[in-house]
Amino acid sequence: MTDFKVNRRGLMKGAAAVGVGLSAPQFFVSGANAYTNEPTGGSVTLGFNVPQTRAYADEGADELRAYELAVEHLNGGGDGGMLNTFSSKALTGNGVLGKKVEYVTGDTQTLSDAARASAKRMIEKDGAVMITGGSSSGVAIAVQGLCQDAGVIFMAGLTHSNDTTGKDKRANGFRHFFNTEMTGAALAPVLKNAFGEDRRVYHLTSDYTWGWSQEGSIQKYTEPFGWETAAAVRTPVGAGDFSQYITPVLNSGADVLVLNHYGKDMVNSLPQAVQFGLRDKQVNGKNFEIVVPLFSRLMAQGAGDAIKGIFGSTNWNWSLQDEGSKAFVKSFGQKYGIPPSQAAHTCYCQTILYADAAERAGTFRPSELGKALEDFSFDGLGNGPTDYRGSDHQCFKDVLVVKGKEEPASQHDLLEVVEVTPRAQVEYPADLLGGELGPYNDGA
């Protein structure tokens, strides 16, 4: 068909094209970087990768607010928030290591592909030296793997699956948020006291790593006192209408429904379950009960009256009365006019913890900065004394068991803290969840 004869014109063009092609990559190899995106100017760039659309968009929006507030405080703006109560005093409000903190944002869409593309843009184009964000464990794990390959630190935002610092843990990844193992350990005794032993449980579970993990942890900690699983049904994330999943619950013979749903999924599924009359039912001679293992104030707000009396666990709640929480709620409220959610809190903490570790290590180099975070003990960030365990990069702190308030005082005052489960009760050995950290990667 097409006859590719070599003539002078073609040869010259081809040679020119090859020449451009060969010279192009050299263009961008800027000297010998000691590590990926080493900040050389007067500023350092952080990447905030949060869901701005789809099922976890509310959490994502609140996370972004917290990140912006944290950056403001790091650069010396505002009232300083939790920097004033934080036990480490390395940060002075003069940026980090004398560099002004700047940030770029991206939309993860709660999709692994989109989240990784967005994180790659931040690393390759915008020169971000740290990526943080989450709101879905699937996405957090995917982005954590990417950051490990690229040689930047990943500070996980809201991600609750065991796998993030268990099976899929990476040296460059760190998590402040708690996990389903801790939720199970904290929630189970409270459930036993409230609902008694010998229950038949129906699980509706978000069909991805967090849902599986949450379902497993609840089963693990409730089965010893005689709760048995009647059925465990997986539902797609972002289903919108859960009626087809809730109808079978009515005739299943179960007397407890555990909703392993988060974000808009829970906002949709819980009111539907209540509308179907589940909570007014008597099964096996017992009141039918609903449990939402991972609770947040944002979800409670979305689900309205349906949350009254529902048990769950949370990482942090704005009604806490320690100095750190009060300072954070005050400066967040002043800037945005609403109290922060647990997602906002953990993201704020992660940013501060990263900046503090950089300051103490004297560098942004992942391997040295990571060492500064490992086995770091701190206080004053709203959760009481907290440890960053070095062997799996997971934070250990008290866990809150909460209940939807029957008589809310305001539209934000929706959760009451039933019990603060002490850290010792939720701690587990690091090798319990498997996985391997591997070595740090500093990148290019």
Binding site: G21, A24, F28, T105, L111, S112, R121, D149, D207
Partner: protein
């Protein structure tokens, strides 16, 4: 005489195309797209769109399920990495084969109908594959979380050749060249050029002519006693193989496969790319793929801070107002911009961006060349279906 002209213009087209691909990092730098990940996406979705165009542009069969082949390619490639070797060559070969076999299966059933029924059938098959990958086949696909590599994967071939990755998680590499970043882009770019060449050959071949005949009037073809289905099916399988290759490349540049790659929105996206660029033209689909990926990655990243900086020449209140209005179209609102652009193009340029390019070229040509209008009628692409 005309055929020789055609040949020479094709060679020039291919060479210019290769030059653009080779100089991508420099060329796209000014518009903020000269970073490896986005360039890789340009190349990969360019391949996907070229393949789709062989089906849709030539035969007129509108498949709404091509993302399924992309996903199959990705899963195959990641599994090859896990089981055989981190070298991309076996992964890509198997991805193309898997894409081809899967499209043969779906095409064989769907091609019994044409028009809207064909589209619905492919859509249904793709959604089925998506749901299978999302929940039923979780042991193979790892569901929503996505299939990822692990340190403990067997990697039989690598072990046999004594390749040890140590304690770190391996990344795909071509005999020692790591395929992330710019090397990854040039790897994809080289394959894009090869695919573009194949596409030119198909367009100019008797087989391509037959496919165009299927598009213009299939009934008449059948009445002449010619069975058109094998031709259309062949086009479907070829485009499925292109999609498998693209899916494999996605896994090569970033070794993770997620079910959302197979969702109907992903299938719709490739249709948009092709129509936006100009279906039935050689270059159009590649350009369309580039435009959509550019919007998805760059426009969605604008936040309030960037907008406020952009409008900083305005007085304070006006600055905030301008940022607010512009904010509707960027960040989370990037779909809105894309939708508006798509509407404008479909209404005013049914032949896609390529028709726009031809119009502009002809505008200049008319001034200097008296027989311009005749040529323009000759070269104008067929409007999209």
């Amino acid at each position: 005489m005309i055929s020789i002209l055609k040949k020479r213009s094709d060679i020039i087209l291919l060479l210019v195309f290769a030059a653009v691909v080779a100089s991508g990092p420099v060329l796209f730098q000014p518009i903020g797209a000269g970073y490896p990940d986005l360039l890789q996406k340009f190349a990969i979705f360019g391949i996907f769109a070229i393949g789709f165009n062989i089906l849709f542009g030539l035969t007129g069969y509108l498949s709404f399920g091509h993302a399924a082949f992309l996903g199959v390619g990705s899963y195959t490639a990641v599994w090859t990495f896990k089981l055989l070797s981190m070298n991309p060559i076996p992964a890509l070969i198997l991805a193309v084969i898997a894409g081809g076999l899967f499209s043969l299966l779906i095409g064989w059933v769907s091609m019994r109908r044409s028009g809207i029924y064909f589209s619905i059938l492919t859509l249904a098959f793709a959604q089925m594959s998506y749901n299978l990958a999302y929940s039923v086949l979780t042991p193979i696909t790892n569901g929503e979380t996505g299939l990822q590599l692990a340190q403990s994967d067997p990697r039989v071939l690598d072990v046999a050749f004594g390749r040890d990755y140590g304690a770190v998680l391996p990344t795909p590499d071509l005999f020692g060249i790591n395929l992330s970043g710019y090397p990854g882009y040039y790897f994809c770019g080289a394959l894009l050029i090869v695919c573009f060449y194949i596409s030119i050959r198909i367009f100019r071949s008797p087989f391509g002519m037959m496919l165009r005949a299927v598009k213009s009037n299939q009934n008449r073809m059948n009445y002449t006693g010619l069975n058109t289905r094998p031709y259309a099916l062949a086009a479907f399988v070829i485009s499925g193989m292109f999609a498998g290759l693209a899916g494999g490349l996605l896994a090569v540049t970033d070794p993770l496969a997620g079910a959302e790659r197979m969702q109907w929105t992903a299938s719709g996206e490739i249709v948009l790319m092709t129509i936006l660029g100009g279906s039935g033209t050689l270059l159009g689909p590649v350009i369309g793929a580039g435009v959509i990926k550019y919007f998805e990655n760059i426009f969605s990243a604008f936040n309030e801070n960037i907008l406020l900086n952009m409008f900083s020449f305005f007085p304070e209140p006006l600055q905030h107002a301008a940022a607010w209005v512009a904010g509707l179209f960027v960040g989370e609102g990037w779909h809105l911009t894309l939708g508006a652009l798509f509407m404008i193009i479909v209404i005013f340029l049914p032949g896609g961006l390529m028709e726009g390019a031809h119009k502009i070229i002809n505008l200049f040509r008319r001034k200097t060349d008296s027989d311009g209008p005749q040529k323009s009628a000759d070269s104008a692409p067929a409007p999209a279906e």
